[in-house]
């Protein structure tokens, strides 16, 4: 087989997608108008398929902080955290993210993906067992696989299934790592974290929660689903990203285990990459402050989420019971989903199209998300578009 022969399936997929009037995987944003609007294909679209949950990408304080950091510290660090890439601002953000979660220790990575890979490959080796929700993010699976650990999947959001599997592991269950998410980003459903903590405590295992999509949305202080379900004190590792509610880029882990500092010496994705640029660190720090100082943002995004969820339910779409800023609308037929996505796009609404194998149940999904920056008029516009397509 030649080097590129293995891409024959990808080539066929690319050709099929290119034949569509608009390639759902290749939309090009020519101009970002605001946190909720962009110009695509020369036309204004309402963005209902982002992860900009708190709408902070155009926050004036965050932009000012980034601009100031650019002027003061330049465009990039040009080096690894273990070499010339640790600035005081990186350490400040690590302290602030730990403080935000009320944990003892924090560690910052260059992306959310590298945070998950970096933590899992450092924590686990071939002698370890990891139990992971079958609908966990690709970065979690990649990290588990790259670690060489024995990987056991359990059914999505099934604490009893997890308990059964731990019980069969015997002594290995005591040091096993359980990996779940808070808010799942495709269907928009939440993990039963309290039940997972009960199982973890029954066996003495460790628990890692990826709060990538729940940070800033859940809990009294916006810390995420663990705070919301009252189990923050019993979680071993919280990982997440700065690229969603915080409107920036980067990843993190917080923990009360002092060994987190040792991960720095063992995590190749932490060591062998450039550290986040000063402007990224500055906007992230400012956005983190906003979560604390502007609880109104959470009120607005939840009000918008309820409005969209209620509207789509009334239109008869079979969406999940959990109300969240992410709503997955399932379609059995790929063509129907594609047609819906295309029509929404033509009507000025950008959503995410998720096709097999990325969709969790083998079907297809349109993922719709709202932010604190959406107006009620914009959400009505989104709902009107869905209704018009449904009514043919």
């Amino acid at each position: 087989m030649s080097l590129f022969e293995k891409f024959s399936e990808a080539r066929a997929l690319e050709r099929a997608l290119m034949e569509l009037p608009v390639n759902p995987t290749g939309t090009i944003i020519s101009e970002v108008v605001s946190a909720t609007e962009a110009i695509i294909d020369g036309k204004l679209k309402i963005m209902a398929g982002t992860n900009n949950y708190l709408g902070l990408t155009f926050d004036t304080d965050c932009i000012a902080a980034g601009q100031q950091a650019l002027l003061e510290a330049g465009t990039g660090t040009t080096g690894s955290r273990m070499a010339n890439g640790t600035y005081q601002q990186h350490l400040d953000l690590e302290a602030e993210i730990a403080d935000f979660f009320d944990y003892s220790y924090g560690m910052v990575f260059s992306t959310g993906y590298s945070a998950n890979i970096g933590m899992l490959t450092a924590l686990l080796n071939s002698e370890d067992s990891v139990l992971i929700d079958s609908e966990g993010h690709a970065s979690l699976f990649d990290g588990c696989r790259m670690s060489g650990a024995k990987i056991y999947r359990f059914k999505h959001n099934d604490p009893e299934g997890l308990r059964k599997r731990l019980s069969r592991l015997g002594k290995a269950s005591k040091d096993a790592l359980i990996v779940v998410e808070g808010l799942y980003s495709v269907r928009g459903d939440c993990a039963p974290l309290k039940e997972y903590v009960d199982v973890k405590n029954e066996f003495g295992s460790y628990l890692m929660i990826d709060e990538a999509h729940s940070l800033g949305l859940y809990g009294e202080n916006g810390r995420g689903l663990a705070e919301d379900q009252g189990v923050s004190d019993e979680v071993d590792f919280i990982v997440g990203t700065f690229s969603k509610s915080l409107g920036s880029i980067g990843g993190f882990c917080v923990s009360n285990h002092p060994e987190l500092s040792l991960i720095r010496y063992a995590s190749r994705p932490y060591i062998f990459t450039a550290s986040p640029s000063p402007s990224v660190i500055a906007t992230t720090r400012q956005a983190l402050k906003k979560i604390g100082s502007c609880p109104k943002l959470r009120e607005v995004v939840w009000s918008n989420a309820k409005f969209l969820h209620s509207g789509l339910s009334q239109l008869g779409f079979q969406i999940g019971a959990d109300v969240s800023p992410v709503i997955g609308i399932p379609f059995k037929e790929r063509e129907v989903a594609l047609n819906y996505w295309q029509n929404l796009f033509n009507k000025g609404v950008y959503t995410n199209l998720i096709l097999p194998p990325a969709a969790p149940d083998g079907g297809s999904l349109i993922r719709c998300s709202v932010t604190a920056a959406h107006s009620k008029e914009q959400i009505s516009f989104i709902l009107d578009a869905f209704e018009a397509i449904k009514n043919g």
């Binding site: 024995k150 059964k164 069969r168 969790p360 149940d361």
Partner: protein
């Protein structure tokens, strides 16, 4: 439990998930023949694990294509005690 008895039970579990167009046997490939979707694979394997009171790690599953392969894996993990 013998390999052939495990195969019979695996087929029964498989038939509970997907209709058997042709009769399933040990040569039936779980995805390409039985047509299990990705979520059904998870569901099926969880049922298999519960049935035989075992856990199957991803590495062991990488060698599984057919019902017969899965029976071999079950036999190996359970030590023939299932």
């Amino acid at each position: 439990m013998t390999h052939s008895k495990i195969v019979i039970r695996l087929i029964e579990l498989l038939e509970g998930l997907v209709p058997s167009v042709d009769n399933f046997d040990k040569e039936t490939a779980l995805v390409s023949d039985a047509g299990l979707e990705s979520i059904q694979v998870i569901e099926y394997l969880c049922e298999v694990e519960d049935e035989f009171d075992i856990v199957i790690d991803e590495e062991a599953l990488s060698y599984v294509n057919t019902v017969g392969d899965l029976a071999e894996t079950v036999l190996k993990i359970s030590g023939g005690k299932s």
